[in-house]
């Protein structure tokens, strides 16, 4: 695992009509690392992701990706640099077949550049990526309308959509929410594989037990500000985190 700095966020801030959604958040991420972002609802986790991926313009602060300042760039430029994200609410394009959902990212300039400008068979590539996240090529599933997919598969589709862009940094927004234990169990190896490939990961989660099976360290947000950072143990033992977020339930053995 190389130890190059991939993402550096400094003093990031965002105000929404007087509400400080994200307030002076800084952290660094090395290449190949996995970072968890946790915090109570409304603590600014999603906004943080939106800021990094360009969906929301920051009110202040800087985001450096591989030495390049990407603060305030539009999403498609950020994607073309190799940052992909998933959404908390997986909303696929309901009326088209599942594999066609991946045509969109495959149509992007990044995907085309990776293919060396060649047109390629996008349908084939889409099926290929679907297989990677556990869809079976020969079953009917990839060809059905995406709206009919069960929730767990939607999340996989969401993940596939990220992977299609062959990113270096993947940001997953509450991937586990709404998944059953067995579904999570089946997706964990996938995440492990992604990490093995040397990709960097940021995960926003509530399901701490499962989260800490994937990530090395985490930051904790509350009211838009960072209140703690460290490995799982460090975070869990932090008094402020307990008070604001964890409550009395002890999550041992994570």
């Amino acid at each position: 695992m190389s130890q190059d700095l991939i993402l550096k966020v400094s003093n990031l801030a965002k105000n929404f009509g007087g509400v400080k959604a994200v307030n002076d958040v800084s952290f660094e991420l090395q290449e190949g690392e996995a970072l968890g972002v946790i915090g109570p609802n409304g603590s600014g986790k999603s906004t943080l992701i939106n800021l990094i991926t360009g969906f929301v313009k920051p009110s202040g602060g800087r985001i450096i990706y591989r030495g390049e300042n990407i603060t305030g760039l539009p999403p498609y430029k950020i994607v073309s640099l190799g940052i992909a994200r998933s959404f908390q609410m997986a909303k696929p394009f309901y009326n088209i077949p599942v594999f066609k959902n991946l045509i969109i990212p495959l149509y992007s300039s990044r995907a085309r550049k990776l293919k060396g400008g060649a047109y390629g068979d996008r349908d084939e590539a889409a099926i290929h990526f679907l297989e990677d996240v556990g869809f079976e090529r020969d079953s009917q599933v990839p060809y059905k309308a995406a709206g009919a997919l069960p929730h767990g598969y939607l999340k996989r589709l969401e993940l596939a959509r990220c992977l299609t862009l062959e990113p270096d940094l993947i940001i997953l927004d509450e991937l586990f929410s709404g998944m059953s234990m067995s579904e999570i169990a089946s997706i964990l190896p996938l995440l492990a594989k992604i990490r093995e490939e040397g990709k960097t990961l940021i995960m926003v989660e509530h399901r701490l037990r499962e989260l800490f099976r994937v990530v090395d360290k985490a930051i904790v947000l509350n009211f838009g500000g960072k209140i703690a950072e460290g490995t799982s143990g460090e975070v869990m033992d932090n008094e402020e985190v307990r008070k604001a977020y964890l409550g009395s339930e002890v999550l041992s053995g994570a």
């Binding site: 999403p75 073309s80 992909a84 994200r85 959404f87 909303k91 394009f93 996008r122």
Partner: protein, 342 residues
Amino acid sequence: MKKGYRKERLDRGIKARTDDIFAICSPREIAYIALPRFIVIGALLMFPLLAVLTGIYWQNVLIITCTIALLALSWDLLASAGLVSLGQALFFGAGAYVTGFLSHHYGWPPILSVPAATVTGALLCTMLLYPVLRLRGIYFGLITFAMPLLMMRIVEATKILGGTEGLSGLAPLPGMKVELYVIITVTLVCVFGFRRLIDTDYGLVLRAIRDNDRAVMAGGINIQWYKTQAVFIAALPATFAGAFLTHHYQFVGMPAFALEYSILPLTSVIIGGTGSFAGAMLGAFILVPLSEVLRAFGTLRVVIYCLILLVFAIGLPEGIFHYIQRKYYQFERLVPVEEIKK
């Protein structure tokens, strides 16, 4: 409905088989797919030849119908990319004024000025709408609604391009038959071209922008750029319609931005059914002749027209085309619930 039963919609067997193009083997299946298309194309191409039966007046009506159909197609393509326009008149007026300007000031013949106006007009509209493409839904609708009114007022206040008088006595087109074939061909090309375009991967991107633009942005696609392209492509048939009708009537003036050019295409698409292009065309081919037929009612015409519109909008909210298509492709049957529970 009978207790314990439910209604089920199923694709007809023939539809299921013909979905995959390679499976077609019998003439019946080929006819099933091709016939509806060929009937439409055939009927339209035959129309000008039936001048004796139809009379010059109905030929004229057909030209106007095609014009509105083109505007409606343009609307539908924009809507496919999530841009709900309430101001098709902007495109129409742009095409009309550009060709009027070229023809009046530089004496260009229609064969040059119409294509030039189509492209230039579309470019102008794209430039005008570019700053507001990030607006969504009704806000984009309002802007497009205000644009033609604004253009009209600007022409009025600044007196450019003939001001309130407009430019009259422009070069005429070569004759009814040629006109009919040109506009029919353009309409057909647009319908089938757009239908094909929207099924390609490119069309998929446009539709995806409509359904969930954030997901498309996350897919690394510059939606602003794609929307711009969509506006340009969608503007083409509309500007052409404007340029064509301008030469047909040899006049261009402020009414080129008239509200009716915005409303008629919209109602056409609603009546015909959105998203299929064929629906847009069908809607125009129902509404415009209907409006002409109703001229017999004199001043009561608009009232009756509105009531019929109402009946359709309420009776078939999905649109006539979708309704017919569903009946063509699917059948319904009552099945006992027990049967499906496995």
